[in-house]
């Protein structure tokens, strides 16, 4: 009888072993000598097949709801007001330097994140806004994910709507891109997942009721209105959400790792036009 029970217990274990053995990694096209060698995944399904599945699961549902009425439009209006509001000791507003309607910022957000020698690292739109406030306006930095911070970031990004993303990873930005990539392929959390496992290898498969998205369109619509949040949130809030989902301690907003990751992820979407505010599930 005991043998019988042992056999019962072995069976699921065998199944698990077979399953994990199937998940063989595909060798990379070319590894870098400096950074640790990352074995890149090839997607299980083609882009066309992914688009087909996306249409089957979601259809035009979110696009239609966004076209009808995106609550984040109110936040953009708030950001516009904030943009021309004089704050800080220098008696300036964002509009004092960048033009009344942000003319001089049109298309600029499409180049972010980018390397900035002043901070010897990657600069994001949110970080740049706070640096501007501190250095040029003498105003207090805005708390990340607070209403005014998101409003301003959303407005500045909305000035680049329709402009294809073109971030550069050449020269000094290269090591930061590699660091971002390393994080993207690193397994962590109690579930031992990596970003790439879900969003490269298994993109297009279902994870419970969700379709795993591929990383091509991950950055073009942030900050976005998300039904799940019932509000607006930034890309780095989504990073934190993903980290929590795999039972990994999330990192602080605008930490170096997240900024590198944002560079890596945004580069994957190079050529996709910016479309903020987005509207997602």
């Amino acid at each position: 009888m005991s043998k019988f029970i042992v056999r019962i217990m072995i069976l699921p274990a065998c199944a698990l072993f077979v399953f994990s053995a199937c998940a063989v990694r595909t060798p990379s096209a070319g590894g870098k000598a400096s950074a640790p060698v990352i074995t890149e995944y090839t997607p299980n399904i083609s882009t066309q097949e992914y688009e087909k599945r996306y249409q089957a699961v979601y259809g035009k549902f979110t696009e239609q709801m966004a076209a009808e009425g995106n609550p984040a439009d109110f936040v953009v209006d708030d950001g516009k007001d904030l943009f021309s509001k004089v704050q800080g000791s220098a008696g300036k507003s964002c509009a004092s330097c960048h033009g009344a309607n942000g003319e001089k910022l049109k298309g600029v957000a499409a180049m972010y994140p980018k390397y900035d020698p002043a901070i010897k690292g990657i600069d994001t739109v949110a970080l740049q806004i706070n640096r501007c406030r501190k250095d040029h306006m003498g105003a207090p930095e805005l708390k990340y994910e607070s209403d005014p911070q998101l409003a301003l970031e959303l407005y500045v990004k909305s000035l680049s709507n329709g402009v294809p993303i073109h971030v550069s990873i050449d020269g000094p930005a290269k090591p930061f891109y590699e660091a971002g990539k390393e994080y993207y392929y690193k397994r962590f959390g109690q579930f031992n997942f990596s970003c790439a496992l879900c969003h490269v290898k298994y993109a297009g498969h279902m994870i419970r009721a969700n379709l795993l998205s591929n990383n091509r369109h991950h950055t073009d619509h942030f900050p976005t209105y998300r039904l799940d949040w019932s509000g607006v949130g930034s890309l780095q809030k989504r990073f934190r959400g993903c980290n929590k989902n795999v039972r990994q301690e999330p990192l602080p907003f605008q930490s170096e790792t997240y900024r590198n990751l944002e560079l890596y992820l945004t580069y994957q979407g190079n050529g996709v036009p910016i479309q903020v505010p987005g509207f997602r599930m």
Partner: protein
């Protein structure tokens, strides 16, 4: 989220006299049910829009009676027979006494 009670109304750009036109209205409101809890465990008090009136000129053409089961940042689409040049006005009232209203002028050709 943005402040409470901001309204956006959308109507077609060109309207012919006698057309039945769609009017889309979005309002920012938390629509709290009174069933959710804060992180510290205290109940968030109910706070929702329970009464909506739509006026076309001086006539009240639509009235809505809402409960907590209407989503946050309520969005509605209704139809109006555009037979006169007059403003369409929408008035929201919530259970804490807040009144939010906005109008849009309709001028059928």
């Amino acid at each position: 989220m943005a402040s409470v009670g901001k309204i956006k109304i959308r109507v077609p750009n060109t309207i012919k006299k006698g057309d039945v036109i769609p009017v889309q209205v979005l309002v920012s409101h938390p629509m709290e049910t009174g069933m959710r809890k804060n992180k510290d465990g205290s109940v968030i008090p109910a706070y929702y829009i329970n009464d909506v009136d739509v006026f076309y000129g001086n006539d009240k053409i639509t009235h809505c009676d809402w409960t907590i089961a209407v989503s946050a940042n309520p969005f509605i689409t209704f139809y109006v027979k555009a037979d006169k040049a007059a403003p369409i006005k929408i008035v929201y009232k919530d259970i804490k006494g807040g009144v939010y209203e906005q109008a849009v002028q309709i001028s059928p050709q």
